[in-house]
Structure formats: structure tokens, C-alpha cells
Symmetry: C2
Subunit: 627 residues, 2 copies
């Protein structure tokens, strides 16, 4: 071969090699998304898919960035997910019995649940300090039995259930906390005669059926809830609420529908008016009025008649049967989500106050002044069909769920224009953004809580799961990253940065705890007449005592202390045929009570796999027959 | 520039360009894993992570390959996951009340649950035809109340609960079906006096406490379960079981521990012997004996004394307190998992039969022949510490969980040698492989059901979730792909190819269904003395009737028909303060019964978000006071 050609060939090959080396070198440095950018694909795996997979995959050994707390709706529970993996880490029983942890079986949880085996858990709210989530507690309402619960986030357990709160039929529009968790409001979705138990014919609806809002006070030390005071309202349906913050601190806002005051065929009859109201309430003024004794007792609550406190309640017209009302992070605006109007209406709190101060009203209804709509409203944003709820990011954007359109609209709080829209599947109710209800939202992630899944998951029969979709907010266009099925039914969720929550590892040893036993010598059975008390301890892999002999008809109090002071080493305790199960977490003492109404021999055993000899952790309850 | 140099430069640049083009072209074709092979990385994202992310990510619009059915342990539920995404698609209430679907509230489910609000759901079993999953039903046992349930896989709902099955205290070792789902066996984990309710002092353990196995018959038409016959056994603890298949069809195998017959401090006292037994039972012989009337009635069951049927029960020595016993896909071997021995012991069914036929016994215990261990056993595989359970793939490999070692060992059914081991986190109980209990396992995926999670997920307090790890079986080395947290507590799971399950879309209209109403004209309230029957229909977005007036003390029967014949359009129905909620799936009629023991006004409403006017789907129950 000619030397020159050989050289050229050599040069070309060297260039080719250098090119490959360069490509390899570049590829060694770049990230997988960039590799995706080079259109890496396999069997149709697109660059978007690679990006989404890597953004949501949390490898073994790593942790999620956020906790997501989603309400369980009519299951009565609270679901805890990790974000961005969307893995369900825990289900916390709140208004439902949960045998796995003995919730509803142990004496204290049974008492807490009271007469109800279920609840309709709607809107979780993380406690706030200065308008920021502080990671201490989570509150959640029960729309079916007018209750509210507190979950302590050091142990992820329900520690208080308050209610039924008097006079409130279906407190749908809670929990939405004031910026320092002083209060949250519970307002009635259903008008009804008060107090509970009062009978009045449905045709007396307009006269005898009342709307009521309660202000629930939260103790800043321990989160203990109590009914502060209540406020009489017209017999409208109060849907959702939010508390003012910043400039609007001291006020709260409720959406209404059925200002038509219909009581049949609401689907039609309560959708007649072009506008319903956002009710703006000066809760600080009412708090003072309650202190001043301007209350009367109804059903055990201190109830304020708003006629006695002029200037405490105003009506803001809002199109049409609005669902959510959402206060912007700076507190300057409150946003009504039209539901039956393709708009969100943005109201300026400052202009609202001008109307209030100047008595710039366009009339009144049920005795309440209606503020000048044209002056208070700063924008009607044409977001699309069926707007239900709005969340916020760190860049001055708002995100509104569109139920009918199955989409999320992104719009600006500066120019009130829609800048992006993405499809979700299907029919979103609420949205939640990372730290989205605080004064400092994080942006980054948005979760759409979709009511229908249809064909998105493997079929499980005629009824499909609900579906949460994780949406990436890090670029100008929203991008759906992940579909996460979920049990019925998250109505709302909140997302908190993981490092804000501090859990404890084991229940500390404390000899003063009722019934606690920390040494096998102290384990015992004590009889007092027909009352038998069992002081039991359990640890890997045995119970003391492992035989308990009692008599048919005895009233039994049974304490179990788990003396494995070792994180995650939980023991269960089930008694066969006595319909009893509970768990004791590391270091914890549990209390059960029952009547030994069945004679015979009943094995008891550890129901929570604890060790290699877990199967051997058992004993016998022997119940001697009466005769 | 010299022309030759220019040419060389040109050639080099051209080569470089060609190289880049070639690299680009290659990259355009290759899959992302190969791009990972080029060490695509970002902030420490390794090639393994990219691989695992892409193998487990199921993009929106695509579906999982397998259903995974995991037991919910003492939560009483069944969890349905998709594989490989490990997303929890549904929770099916089985032995627990679940208000979201009204399970335990509707008349039929309340009756089905009977006296128990919980159960200890242990081992799910998919129905089989010719040893293969057929996708029709799933059976699962309740270890706490000696029951078993059937879930129909066309609707993912529990349709039957059988029990308490007489005489079986804690049927841990079920459900393991025969190859055509003729039967499954339930054997007692706890010895006890029979029938239930019999009292006998614990010191009479060896005489009065019995082990019992029941054969539960399954109707091949509809899956209906009934107690076939029972078998008296020694007062040992029967742990797990499996049915023979292929050559071993007609036999079943139970592991035992506590052949020491201890009844105190089992952790120590039941771990004395170097060997316990696998009990081999000729169920076809016993079935015939039952037909021949060789039974006596105990507690309502037909119980066989094995002394009356010689040759039906044999003991196979197995080291030490074995947990699982697993029959290989071809039925030729049964494998005992040592638990307290670092081995799995592999027994040949053929050799076992030789011993049986030649009466090659090494003694007897409790009247049962002990077959020659050395002849029956073909291998003791040194798998590692704490072997509990073994699954199989399509390549002749077995996989054994190692609880103490927190690992999974892979070993060969040809040479009985361990070829691979992978760490899991932490403390695996059972394993499940894709179609792993059939005569034709798929390989591909293995899931390790780990009892402890420790630090693997965001902390939720002193007790952490259980953890399921997805393991890739497609290469010679196992690889952990994904960590999936799960509620308490999967004891076992099964994985079935998605296309084997056929669900229906809506409940068909059927005028013969008790209480069904398909036209608003037929919706009505009927009174007969103090008995009131409500025939209600619900559809988007109203109920007929939306006012129901009754009297305090009435006994109310309430039918609700959902006339939205549209997949996934489910309506809820909750009555405030009456502790009532249920759902009606598309086309379904539900029945509720209650006594109207509280006077007053009680809103009822749709609790399952159904439409844009879901909030308006409501009504009032008016209960007139007695006086």
C-alpha cells in the first residue's frame, strides 16, 4: 500500500479512535439524563422515561426527601408516603380500628374511638410555627362524626380524638391551621338543627337548620385540642377553609355552596346562583368576644351570635359553588376555586380591608355585609374546567387542579396568566406542593390527588384505586414523573421536608407507668375478687408468665411490657378466639381489658414476627368453667 | 500550511467526526443499561442504580407484569402489589373491618366476620389447575381464630370465610393447595383440648392436648370451602405444610417443632432435640377412609384416628425445628428448612416411598413409623444461618431465606451446592418467586419478605415498617432491585402473571337481586310495623330518596343500588353519627341494617368522591323522637 494512503488511513483510524475515546470520555462524565439526551433507548424507553425513573428511584440505603401525609378518607386512616419514591411507608390508624397495632383494642385507644368504628378523614394539617411546618403534630378531621384527631409525629401515633364537636354537622372544611397553630376552624358542611338530637322537619330548613363554625384551640405545649368557641352561621354548606397569614393573619376564609338554601336535589337546586360566597371571618375579634362572655351555651359549647359582634363576618361574592379557598404564602391574596366556573378568582386582602373600612358594600344577606366584588377581586384567571384547589411554589406560581378537565394549570401570582398546563389521570381533587401551605413553599414537587385511576394500574375489579401523581416542578414545564396507586381516599395531603420530623427510638423505661413490668420476677397474676390483673412482660422470645389460669366470668386487666429496648423490635399479643390483639413497641406498656366469658383453653402468642424463635413466643390462658 | 499536513489534519478531523458519529449512532441504538455500562453517572449514580431504576420503573400508561398477593398478618388484610414497580394497588379486607368499602358493615360481610373484628392472615394461596395458578381464587388462613377465607379474583373481594374450623388451635401451616385445588390442609400450631371450650389443666398436656389436621375441600365450580375430614395428631406444633405434586401428588407434608411436648418456656424447652419431623400424610388414603366412615364426630367434624388407617402417616426426621417444607416443582423432592440448623435437608420422595414400601424404619414415635433418615435424605445443603423457606425458579435452582444471616442463598437442585448468596435487609421470613409455587416457575423475580427494616426508610417512630425486597433473577448473581416498605405483616406472598387474572368491569343489572332499584320511580321507603325498608338508588350526583323520615326505635333495612354502570364510578354512603358507611361499586346493590336508636336529624352523603358535584350528593335521615 502507498505510504501516503497508509498514513491517511492511519490518521483516519486514529481520528476515529480519538473520536470514540472523546465520546466515551464525555459519556463517563455526563449524567444519565444527558445520556438520555443522546436518545439512549431500548424497546422504546424514551429520554423522559429515563429521567423520570432516575428522579423517582431511591436506591436501597438512601432515604426519601419528603414525608407525604395523605388522608385516608372513609377508611379513617392516614397514609405516610416518601417522596420522590412515592412508597407508602406507614398507615396510621386514626378513626378506624387497626388490629395490627391493637388500635381500638387497648384500653386507651378503645376509649379514644368511643362509639365509632370509622371516620371520614379529610384534610391533614401539619402544625406550624410562624407559618412554617414545625414537625410536631398533625391534625385531621372526621367529616362523618364531627371529630378531629391529633397524631404525634415523634411516634406516628394518634394521641387525641376530640369530639363529636357540638353543633357541627360534617366539618368538611378543616383542618387549616392559623400560622402559629393557635386555632383551626371547623364549619358545618350540612346545616342541621342544633344541638345534636334536635328534631325538626326538613321543611323548617331555612329557620331551624343552622350552619356553625367552631374554633378549635391548640395548646402550644402539647398540642391538646379543645373547643374554644363557636359561631352561628346561615344554613349554607361550608366547604373548605384557610387561615390568613402575614397581612391577613387574624382572619379566616370559608367557601360556601348552597347559598340557595335548598334541601332537595342539591345537584340541581344548589347550583342555581352564578355566585356563592367566601365568608371572611375576623377570628381575633370573635376570640375577644368569647372572652368578653358574648356567648350562649348550645350543646355544651360557647356559641357566638354574629349579630352580637358586628364587623366580625363579611361575605365576598365568588363564582360558582367554590370548593377550595387558598391564601397565598405572603397572605396578600385569597383565591377562590370556582368548581362550576372555569376560573379561579383572586381577591386582594388589602382591597377587601379597604371595602370593610370604607363600608363599600354591595348589599347584605342574612344580615352580613357583602363587600364590593369588583373592588376586592383583582383577577379572574381562566384556568379551565372544574377548578378545585390551589397550591403554591417558591417562584410566585400557583397550581390549580381541574377536576373536569383532568389537568393541572400553572399560573402566575404576578400577572395572573396561565403559563402551563399538564394532563393528570384522572379527575384531580386536591393538590399538594412541597411545604405548599407554608409561608415558604419549596417548589420542586407537586402531587395531584386523582379520584379516578381507570386503566392506569393492573385491574382490581369494578372499583379501581385512587391515584397520586408526582409532578416535577423544577423546570418551566410541569412533568408527570410517577403514578402511585393509593387506597381510598386521599382528599388532601401535605408534604414536609424529612429532616423536620424527629422520632424517638424506644419508649423509655419508666417505673411509674401503670402496669409496667421490667423484670421477670415482677411478672405476676393478681386476683381481687372477680378482678384479675395480669402483669406480663415480653421479650425475645418469651412471655412471663406463659400460663395464666383464671375463672370464667373474671374481669381481666392485662398489662404487657415489651422489655426489648431495641428499635424496631415490636412484639404482638393475640389471644385465640377472644378477638384480642395488640402490639407493644420497644419499651412500651399496653393495657387490655376483657371479660373471660368463654371457658376453655386459649393459646396466646406473639403476632409480630420478632426473632428466630418467634414461633415459640407463646403461652396458654386457661379459663376454668364456672360449674 | 503544507498541503499534506492540511490533508492529514482534515483526515484526522474527519476521523474524529466519524468516530463521534459512530459513537452517537451506537448510543442511539443501545439501551440505557448499556449506556450505564459506559459508566453514565451523575452525583454518584452508579450503573447498578440506573439498571435497577429502569428495571423497576413502570412509566405512566404502562402496567406491571405480575400481581403480588401478600398477606397482611395481624392486620387481617391482603395486600395487592404490582411487580416490578412494587406499588401497592389495593388492600383487600379479609378478616378486618374496612369502612372505606363497608366491609363488616353491610349485612353479608358483617355476618361473614361473625364474632371477630380481626384475624391473623398468614399464607395466601392462589388456586391451581394441574399445578398451575389459574387466577380464579385466593385462599388465606387466620391463625388466631382458625378460619380461612376465599377472595374471588374477578372482583378482588372476600366472598367466604369458613370457621372457626373445629379442633384446630392456630392453623399456621396453611393454605397450601393440592395441584387441582381439591384440598388444602390446616394443622394446629398449638396443641389443645378438643373440642373448643374443653378445659384441661396444662399439666395434662401430653394426654389431653391434641394436634389436629383438617382437610378443607374446595368446590371446583365456585371455590366454596367446606371441612372435609380431620386427623388426630400428637400434641406437637405443626408449623408449615406443602402438598405433593407430580410423583408425590396425593401426599402432603407438615413440619413440626416442639416434638419435645413442652408447655413452658418453649424458647428453650422446645429446642432440645437435634431433630424434629416432617410428617408425611397420604391424604388420598385418608379421604377414602373418611368416605368409608372411619371417623368419629368431635366438635362437629369427622375426625379420623390414624390408628384406624395404618400406612397413612409417617415421620421423616429433619433438623432442627424446621419452619418451611417445600415441594420442588417436579414433586420429586421435599425440602425441610432447618430454622435452628444451618441447613436445608432435601428428601427424595421416591426414596421415601421405598422406605415406606420396604418398611425401612428407624423406630416409631406416638405410634407412627419413622422412616430411615439416611436413605430418604439426599442432601443437607449448608445454606447458612436460620433457613426458613425455599422457593424455585425455572432453571432448576432453589432460593432459601436465611433469617439469622439476613440473606438469601441460591442453590442447585442438581448438585445441591450453593452458587450465590445476597444480603437482604433485614431478617427475611418467607420468599416468593414469580409463579414460584407452581409446576412451572417463571424465575425472573424473587421477593424477600423481610421482618425488620431498621434504617431503610424515613423513620416512623420506634416500630418500623416491614420491608419487601425485589430481587432480579435474570442473571447468575441475584441483584436487589428495590426496597418496598409494607404494613404489618406479610408472612407469605404469591406472584402471578398479570394476564391470568380476569376481572369484571361492572356488576350486571339484575332485577332479581334482593332490594335492587334501577329506576328512580322504584326508589321508596316501605313501612311494616316498626320495620322500615329503604330502597335507594344512587348515581352521579344524587340519591333517590334524598330525605328519609322514620321513627326512633325503628328497625331499618337499607338497600343502595349504584346505577352508574361505568367502571370505577363507585359511590359511598355514610350516615352521620350512626357509625355506618359502605360503598356500592358500579351496578352493585348493598344492604345495611340498623336500629334507629337516636332521634334527630342525620345527614347522609356520598363518601367516595364520584363527580364534580360529589359534594352535593347527600340527603337527610330524620328520626322522629318517640315521645
Amino acid at each position: 500500500m502507498h505510504k501516503g494512503r497508509l498514513k491517511t488511513l492511519f490518521t483516519a483510524v486514529a481520528g476515529l479512535f480519538a473520536g470514540l475515546l472523546l465520546a466515551y470520555s464525555i459519556l463517563s462524565q455526563i449524567n444519565p439524563e444527558a445520556a438520555g439526551g443522546l436518545k439512549a433507548s431500548k424497546e422504546g424507553v424514551s429520554e423522559d422515561v429515563v429521567d423520570a425513573a432516575l428522579k423517582t428511584y431511591v436506591p436501597p440505603g438512601q432515604l426519601d426527601e419528603y414525608y407525604l401525609f395523605a388522608s385516608g378518607g372513609h377508611s379513617g386512616q392516614l397514609f405516610v408516603f416518601g417522596v420522590p419514591s412515592m412508597r407508602r411507608i406507614r398507615s396510621i390508624p386514626v378513626f378506624n380500628k387497626e388490629s395490627a397495632v391493637g388500635y381500638g383494642w387497648t384500653t386507651d385507644t378503645k376509649e379514644m374511638l368511643g362509639d365509632f368504628d370509622w371516620g371520614d378523614a379529610h384534610h391533614p394539617a401539619l402544625s406550624e410555627t410562624k407559618g412554617d411546618y414545625d414537625g410536631r403534630w398533625l391534625f385531621i378531621n372526621d367529616n362523618a362524626n364531627s371529630r378531629v384527631a391529633r397524631v404525634n409525629l415523634d411516634s406516628f401515633t394518634t394521641q387525641q380524638i376530640l369530639g363529636p364537636v357540638p353543633n357541627i354537622y360534617g366539618p368538611h372544611g378543616s383542618v387549616f391551621l392559623t400560622p402559629n397553630s393557635e386555632y383551626f376552624m371547623m364549619a358545618s358542611r350540612f346545616a342541621g338543627p342544633i344541638p345534636y338530637g334536635t328534631y325538626s322537619d326538613i321543611d323548617n330548613f331555612k329557620e331551624d337548620y343552622k350552619g356553625v363554625m367552631a374554633a378549635i384551640a391548640v395548646d402550644p405545649k402539647d398540642g391538646n385540642m379543645s373547643v374554644g368557641w363557636e359561631l352561628l352561621l346561615p344554613p349554607w354548606s361550608y366547604d373548605l377553609s384557610d387561615a390568613g397569614k402575614g397581612v391577613s393573619d387574624g382572619w379566616c376564609f370559608l367557601t360556601t355552596y348552597n347559598t340557595e338554601e335548598a334541601y332537595h336535589l342539591l345537584e340541581v337546586e344548589s347550583s342555581q346562583r352564578e355566585r356563592d360566597y367566601i365568608v371572611a371571618i375576623n377570628w381575633k375579634m370573635l376570640e375577644q368576644a368569647a372572652k368578653d362572655g358574648k356567648v350562649k351555651d348550645i350543646g355544651g359549647a360557647k356559641v357566638i351570635d354574629p349579630n352580637d359582634v358586628p364587623g366580625s363576618v363579611y361575605l365576598v361574592p365568588c363564582a360558582k359553588s367554590p370548593h377550595g379557598v387558598d391564601v397565598t404564602p405572603d397572605g396578600k391574596y385569597f383565591v377562590g376555586n370556582g368548581k362550576l366556573s372555569p376560573t379561579v378568582t383572586v381577591f386582594s386582602f388589602e382591597k377587601f380591608m379597604e371595602c370593610v373600612n370604607n363600608k363599600d358594600f354591595q348589599g347584605e344577606e342574612r344580615g352580613f355585609p357583602i363587600v364590593n366584588y369588583e373592588k376586592t377581586r383583582v383577577a379572574e384567571v381562566e384556568v379551565g374546567l372544574g377548578p378545585l384547589h390551589t397550591q403554591f411554589d417558591d417562584q410566585g406560581n400557583a397550581y390549580t387542579s381541574l377536576f373536569v378537565e383532568s389537568a393541572v394549570a400553572k399560573w402566575s401570582l404576578s400577572d395572573f396568566k396561565v403559563s402551563d398546563k399538564t394532563q393528570v389521570h384522572y379527575c384531580p381533587g386536591h393538590l399538594t406542593a412541597a411545604e405548599g401551605d407554608t409561608v415558604n413553599p419549596d417548589g420542586k414537587y407537586l402531587v395531584s390527588l386523582n379520584k379516578l385511576a381507570k386503566d392506569k394500574y393492573l385491574s382490581v375489579g369494578p372499583s379501581h384505586p385512587e391515584s397520586m401523581q408526582l409532578i416535577d416542578l423544577t423546570s418551566s414545564k410541569m412533568k408527570v414523573l410517577y403514578d402511585s396507586p393509593v387506597d381510598p381516599e386521599p382528599h388532601f395531603a401535605q408534604m414536609i421536608k424529612a429532616d423536620k420530623i424527629k422520632t424517638f427510638e424506644v419508649y423509655p423505661k419508666d417505673e411509674t407507668i401503670e402496669g409496667a413490668v421490667y423484670a421477670k420476677e415482677d411478672a405476676r397474676v393478681v386476683r381481687d375478687g372477680n378482678n384479675v390483673t395480669v402483669y406480663m412482660m415480653g421479650f425475645r422470645s418469651r412471655y412471663y408468665p406463659d400460663t395464666v389460669e383464671i375463672n370464667e366470668g373474671d374481669h381481666v386487666t392485662w398489662y404487657l411490657t415489651n422489655t426489648d429496648f431495641d428499635e424496631d423490635i415490636t412484639h404482638g399479643f393475640g389471644i385465640m378466639f377472644y378477638d384480642i390483639n395488640c402490639e407493644a413497641q420497644p419499651g412500651q406498656t399496653q393495657k387490655l381489658e376483657f371479660v373471660a366469658d368463654k371457658a376453655g383453653v386459649y393459646p396466646y402468642y406473639c403476632t409480630n414476627f420478632c426473632s428466630a424463635l418467634h414461633q415459640e413466643m407463646q403461652g396458654y390462658l386457661l379459663v376454668k368453667p364456672k360449674s
